[in-house]
């Protein structure tokens, strides 16, 4: 009898906690559990032979913060990818050498992508580093400029030689190698575990997590239920890695539009730095299958990348053109999006969610549990650009 009473005493708080939770169906639990575990296992990029190598990561870090690789000598990758802002810049759209049309995406967890950039114009992290270098609106440099900057800086040249061997006479090779070093550095940028991950792990083993906010639970239920948000914001990184037309305007100005994924595919196929080219280190070519087969279709016109939702709070404003200033604005957009605007045959997944004010608040509360402040502290540089360790 005493034992039974003790058991009841221990079980009571768990039962009370479970009773307070919104009820998740087995199907909803399966979807929620699918958003983990976090972090995912580390993997190396087969297309980048210096992926995961400490010397390359060190050189990549130095180059990421260096202004030597820009046309005016004043811009670094870090100018727009600011560590404290989720490695984005907090602006609607940035200015490089001149105005750029798209919002700066954050870089945390970038290694998990299959296509890079809002239009997927790059199929590797290396390619995504090179693209803003060559874009005259962004960094505005040539392979000659990048190779010269490395050759003329004794410390950089020394670090380069230790990783890649002698500086090649082919400037494009030097530039690709520099981009591979930066890619190796960017692969190390990852988000921490979040309150959602603790809740998800507890749910996966049938435990309660009383610390997870009730509003977030209600929002999560909308996310995997009424909203079906997980159809696109799928898996541990909360993105399917693909492209959709979410009904955001493509107009940049009257008479000028951003064609999104359509232009991205064309750019990718024409780029000498894609995985079908000589800079891909995967001798098997297995990592280039998607690039070989990707083709433009009508639906690609105006599609943009599905971004990760992790560390979302730090990467405000939102969408490809930075047109939505807050998470509430994003939820409002999906609540009210016109089905005629997205065309049911073009984009069957998007429909107006028609959320109440309470539901919108709950969905935002859930999204906030995918971020932790610690991920947005100032970055502590670990390597001295003046030395060759």
């Amino acid at each position: 009898m005493k034992r039974r009473l003790l058991a009841l005493v221990f079980l009571a708080p768990i039962s009370a906690a479970l009773a307070q939770q919104p009820t998740f169906t087995p199907a909803e639990i399966r979807k929620i559990v699918g958003h983990g575990p976090w972090p995912p296992p580390a993997t190396l990029d087969a297309g980048n032979r210096v992926s995961g190598k400490p010397d390359a990561i060190a050189l990549g870090e130095i180059l990421f913060f260096s202004t030597k690789l820009s046309g005016n000598g004043q811009l670094a990758c870090a100018t727009c990818h600011v560590p404290e802002l989720g490695w984005s810049d907090g602006k609607k759209t940035p200015n490089g050498l001149s105005a750029v049309d798209r919002n700066t995406p954050g870089l945390l967890n970038i290694r998990l992508n299959r296509w890079f950039g809002w239009d997927g114009g790059s199929d590797s992290l290396m390619g995504s580093v090179i693209r803003p270098w060559l874009d005259t609106r962004e960094m505005g440099v040539s392979p000659v400029h990048v190779a010269k900057a490395l050759r003329e800086d004794a410390a950089l040249a020394c670090r380069y030689r230790k990783i890649f061997g002698p500086l090649e006479s082919d400037d494009a090779v030097v530039m690709a190698n520099a981009a591979k070093a930066i890619a190796a550095f960017q692969e190390t940028l990852a988000t921490s575990r979040t309150p959602f991950d603790d809740f998800r792990d507890a749910l996966a083993v049938g435990r309660a997590d009383p610390s997870y906010p009730e509003a977030a639970k209600r929002g999560l239920k909308i996310f995997v239920g009424k909203g079906d948000c997980q159809l696109c914001h799928f898996g541990p990184a909360f993105t399917n890695g693909e492209f959709h037309d979410t009904g955001i305007s493509q107009f940049i100005a009257p008479g000028k539009i951003d064609n999104g994924r359509f232009g991205g595919i064309k750019f990718l196929r024409e780029s000498q730095f894609n995985r079908l080219g000589r800079f891909n280190d995967d001798a098997t070519g297995a990592n280039a299958v998607a690039t070989r087969h990707v083709e433009t279709t009508h639906r690609n016109w105006g599609e943009f990348k599905v971004p990760t939702l992790r560390n979302l709070e730090a990467t405000v404003p939102y969408m490809h053109n930075g047109s939505l200033a807050s998470l509430h604005d994003v939820v409002k957009h999906y609540s009210e999006v016109s089905p005629d605007r997205v065309h049911s045959d073009g984009e069957a997944l998007i429909r107006p969610l028609r959320l109440s004010a309470q539901e919108s608040d709950d969905l935002v509360a859930f999204l906030r549990t995918l971020s932790v402040a610690a991920d947005n502290r100032p970055f502590q540089k670990r390597h001295d650009s003046r030395t060759c360790e």
């Binding site: 305007s249 539009i257 009508h298 016109w301 016109s338 005629d340 065309h343």
Partner: protein
């Protein structure tokens, strides 16, 4: 000599089409209210001309968009009357009896070639409003441009077996299904708007090729500018269409590119009454 001439004619007929200079008519364009500010009528017409289009079958929500462009370029715009007064009516129009009055009033003032593009699926094709529109089309000798599933197309023909129906997007049906429907109805034409699989990468898919060969007189190309931004896709779409059409024998390519359209609308009066 006669034999040689016959051989030459046959060689020309079955030679691959030349892509760059193939005339093209776009059978699926909209100029709806949300496009008017960002793309004024003059610029919209420039887009069509830059794409090298001979003509464009145009319908808009509201119809004022169609009339604006027709006024700007009657040589290129072939107007049809859309039942929607704004784009938000796509899912409700066939339950709204005022649509019938709207159609009648517009038709009383202007000669259109058809009614559409309208969205109707399954049993809704037998709604009283849809039935009235089929009757109006019959009375006024207008085509019906239907964004429909096969069931709705069946129901339209059940109401009027002699109706002329342009099947938008060919119902997003498989080539086999499209062929089945074309066999079933001699006055059914098929637009290929917003479909990519028949001509991806400049090559005609084998199953679609069979459909085009079996029904050389029934297919047409179209862009579908369902958002204002898609107007800027018209030129790309024309290039894309010319690329896959070039993979067909010249005669067949020309029919799909523009001759089928011209034949369907031949002799129809257009413009203010």
């Amino acid at each position: 000599m006669r034999f040689l001439l016959a051989c030459l004619f046959a060689a020309l007929a079955f030679a691959p089409a030349r892509a760059a200079d193939l005339p093209l008519i776009d059978a699926h364009i909209h100029y709806s209210h949300d496009a008017w500010d960002m793309l004024p009528a003059k610029e919209a017409i420039n887009v069509l001309r830059k794409a090298g289009l001979k003509k464009a079958l145009l319908s808009s929500s509201s119809d004022d968009g169609t009339l604006k462009l027709y006024a700007e370029a009657p040589d290129i715009i072939v107007p049809e009357l859309r039942p929607y007064r704004s784009r938000g009516e796509i899912g409700t129009w066939f339950r709204d009896e005022t649509v019938v009055t709207h159609i009648q009033e517009r038709i009383a003032k202007f000669n259109y070639v058809g009614i559409g593009e309208f969205h109707i699926y399954g049993p809704d094709a037998d709604s009283p409003v849809m039935r009235r529109i089929v009757e109006i089309a019959k009375t006024n000798n207008l085509i019906l441009h239907a964004h429909s599933d096969a069931e709705a197309v069946d129901r339209l023909f059940a109401q009027n077996p002699t109706a002329r129906v342009l099947w938008a997007h060919s119902g997003f049906a498989s080539p086999d299904k499209v062929r089945e429907m074309l066999r079933k109805y001699k006055t059914l034409w098929a637009d290929l708007a917003f479909r990519s699989e028949h001509g991806s990468g400049g090559k005609v898919d084998a199953a679609w090729r069979e459909a085009f060969v079996e029904f050389p007189d029934r297919f047409m190309v179209g862009t579908d500018t369902f958002t204002p931004e898609r107007w800027y896709y018209i030129e790309e779409h024309a290039k894309w269409s010319r690329a896959w059409l070039a993979d067909l024998p010249q005669d067949l390519a020309e029919r799909i590119a523009y001759k089928n359209f011209e034949a369907l609308f031949a002799g129809m009066k257009i413009g203010p009454k």
